[in-house]
Amino acid sequence: MPDSNDYLLMMSGIGKAFPGVQALANVDFFLKRGEIHALIGENGAGKSTLIKVLTGVERQDSGTIVLENKEILAKSPQHAQALGISTVYQEINLCPNLTVAENILIGREPRIAGSIDWKRMNAQAKQLLQRLDIDIDVTQTLGAYSVAIQQMAAIARALEISSAKILILDEPTSSLDAYETDKLFQVMRKLRDEGMGIVFITHFIDQVYEVADRITVLRNGTLVGTYETDSLPLVELIAKMIGRSLSDFDDMSKIKLESSKSIKADALLQAKDLGRTGSIEPFDLDLHAGEVVGFAGLLGSGRTETAKLLFGIDKPDSGTLTFAGKIIKKFSPLASITRGIAFCPEDRKADGVVDDLTVRENIILAIQANRGWFKFLSKQKQYELAEKYIRLLGITTPTADQQVKNLSGGNQQKVILARWLATNPQLLILDEPTRGIDVGAKAEIQKLVLELAEEGKACVFISSELEEVLRTSHRVVVLRDQEKITEFSGADIDERKIMQTIAGS
């Protein structure tokens, strides 16, 4: 047993079970004063559950939590905050229709004679953001800003609590670009030097090495171990996380080479001068069966907007779109599904899963939508489909009747993939399919995309991680400032050149 004086927080023997899943079993987690402690593991390893137990969202079945030598039991996130534990969650829990200042100071507004002192509130919010080197108009609604800024606002909100002793950052960098990530790390180091204990959850391994002092690895709800960052080489860390070797990644280039042979010469989809004012400049694009086309570009470069045009969520106001030799006139998701186009949206929570429905219902949703209201799939057929894709994609769920909200992020993503694969599409558009999921599941999904291409499907692969786009794509389309700049294919695909194009230099 470590000496309690060394540690700010000591979580010992934590256990927690959910219906059908042992999320945590006898996990220890010790946090020192003034350290950045990375908490890592694959999807469903129990990271989020551990944090939820600590912050009072869930109550542990067993184990104790000791904060500064006093045993605590947070009853709610508010209570945890009062105890000095602040959290910034993976999915930003802010109100986009309130101003930035309101979001940061909600519930703790400065008051003057009982009513809110707006002037002081805005000044305070501005000051808090300046601590993070962000200078924006705090009286604008939060929704008007990029996800990155929203993330910073969430952090500012967590920091605002002056008594915060522990700051938990759950995947804080997943929507930040390199510059913003750097800024965040500066802030983290500063707070660490002030004596705060920071728990950093991420799936970017390189960032762990950049900023963390110590690392705790979880796997399948159990503790693998806690290590000094300096004494744990990268390869060992990954082996500890996924419990298997990285040969999966090496296989990838082989599969890619194999599958590139099956690319059809005729275009399956052809866009000519297709564009929409305010979302994407007119562009030409050909997609071929058996080919994976990657979209590379920064946030807001028009990647998602292009995908939305192709799938018929937005209607183009110029140009033509031809699919399988026919010019498309009717633009809607349903019409696209009927045609054989599928689209995994970027925002899994808002546009992807229907969280109160079961895994089975989520999987059959698109295929049933295509069949219409009255040709209802029989229960037996529904279970067959669900079981098939649970097996095929390796979705971890106790039964097909589990509510999707009880699944981990990576498994939710697989359920959405299953929903689209069930419609047997000819063209699969994947917008950030690996966002917020970890190494093992990422490799699985990338491999799956290549396998689907080999089966003769056309795939569009959109990701903010360039490395991933390069690994999976036969051809890379680069976008910048809502405009298609150029394409790279075959031997021309070169990380440096593409980066330069993305940056516009």
């Binding site: 689209f343 808002a350 546009d351 949703l365 209201w373 009255f374 929903r419």
Partner: protein, 354 residues
């Protein structure tokens, strides 16, 4: 009973509504001895239980329609007004003065109708359904918030009903019309068969087709549903249309029951009872999972409470307050916080509910 199946039972949406209804019935069994007495007069079944079903029929119908709307994350405030419109339309069509400039009052009170009964029913239901379509278009196509959109017809609907009835309370003397609300079939109230028929129709439509799944999906996450190819606009339109249709039938039953059409009073505040029935039935106002049966039980709870109070001879002025208490208790049973407190009290006493 094993612990697992107990939990399964308790997680069912029907569990708490049935418990609440059973408690009310238990109360009646103890304090009102003849509440469960059934007697047959002229081949017709009579008794307080029959009364609950007969009087509760309009509310049950409204609850069925309202369940669909609430499941799509909406609400329909106009059902009371739509009842008045449907009743007004029926009464005007029956009125022998229809289309005639002058008519003697002896002729007016004769047992005749100006329009065949089936046309009367068809037109009244069509008008009510059209009201539903209107609500559905406002919500789904004009993207107006459901509460605001249906508020329009809630207010304007009574005016429309008055225009139809020319501002008069129209008394109906045509006896076949009374069968709808007062008739008996096979010794049982005819209204029971209407409710059964509509319930069966709604159940088949939602559980034997994909409509139920789509309604729940739209109610939980309209955006995800749209991205999956579900036409969420048409699903909403369908829900409001069906709700209007149900309100139309309810209007016919009530006007047939009281043998008149009073534009100002038919179905007054019944939209609130209908919403309450659905909420007691455990369907969330935020939409999503729904149970038609649970809403029916919810309506029965409301009606049984009212009937119980009459049977006890509670003065009318106190009745509302007591009804409110009953509703409060039922709603508290749903509150997670309240259940936690209750659960820890039970645990402390060492009584395991298994």
């Amino acid at each position: 009973m094993s612990k697992l199946s107990w939990k399964h039972l308790r997680d069912s949406q029907l569990f708490w509504p049935v418990v609440a209804l059973a408690l009310i019935m238990l109360f009646n069994l103890i304090f009102i001895p003849d509440f469960f007495t059934l007697e047959i007069k002229d081949g017709h079944l009579f008794g307080s239980m029959v009364d609950v079903i007969n009087r509760g029929a309009p509310l049950m119908l409204l609850a069925i329609g309202m369940t669909m709307v609430i499941a799509t994350a909406g609400v329909d405030l106009s059902v009371g007004a739509v009842m008045a419109i449907s009743a007004g339309a029926a009464a005007v069509l029956i009125n022998p003065a229809l289309g005639k400039t002058l008519i003697g009052s002896d002729k007016l009170v004769e047992d005749i109708t100006a329009t065949p009964l089936w046309v009367v029913i068809l037109v009244a239901l069509a008008v009510a359904t059209l009201c539903g379509v209107w609500n559905g278009l406002l919500v789904s196509r004009a993207n107006i918030q459901p509460m605001v959109a249906t508020l329009v017809l809630m207010v304007a609907g009574r005016g429309i009903a008055q225009l139809i009835t020319n501002g008069q309370i129209i008394t109906v003397y045509y006896s076949p019309y009374f069968f709808i609300g007062n008739g008996y079939l096979l010794g049982l109230p005819f209204t029971l068969f209407i409710v059964l028929g509509v319930f069966l129709f709604a159940w088949l439509m939602t559980r034997r087709t994909a409509i139920g799944l789509f309604v729940e999906s739209v109610g939980i996450n309209a955006s995800s549903s749209f991205f999956s190819g579900i036409n969420e606009k048409n699903i909403k339109l369908m829900a409001y249309t069906f709700c209007g249709f149900c309100a139309g039938i309810a209007g016919l039953i009530v006007s047939s029951n009281v043998k008149s059409a009073d534009a100002n009073n038919i179905g007054l505040f019944s939209e609130l009872d209908a919403i309450l029935a659905v909420v007691i039935g455990g369907t969330l106002m935020s939409g999503g999972r729904f149970s038609l049966m649970a809403s029916i039980v919810g309506a029965l709870i409301i009606q049984a409470t009212t009937t119980t109070m009459y049977a006890l001879g509670v003065p009318a002025m106190a009745a509302s307050a007591i009804k409110a208490m009953v509703v409060l208790i039922v709603i508290l049973l749903y509150s997670e916080q309240f259940k936690d407190v209750l659960g820890s009290v039970i645990e402390r006493k060492g009584v395991q509910p298994s």
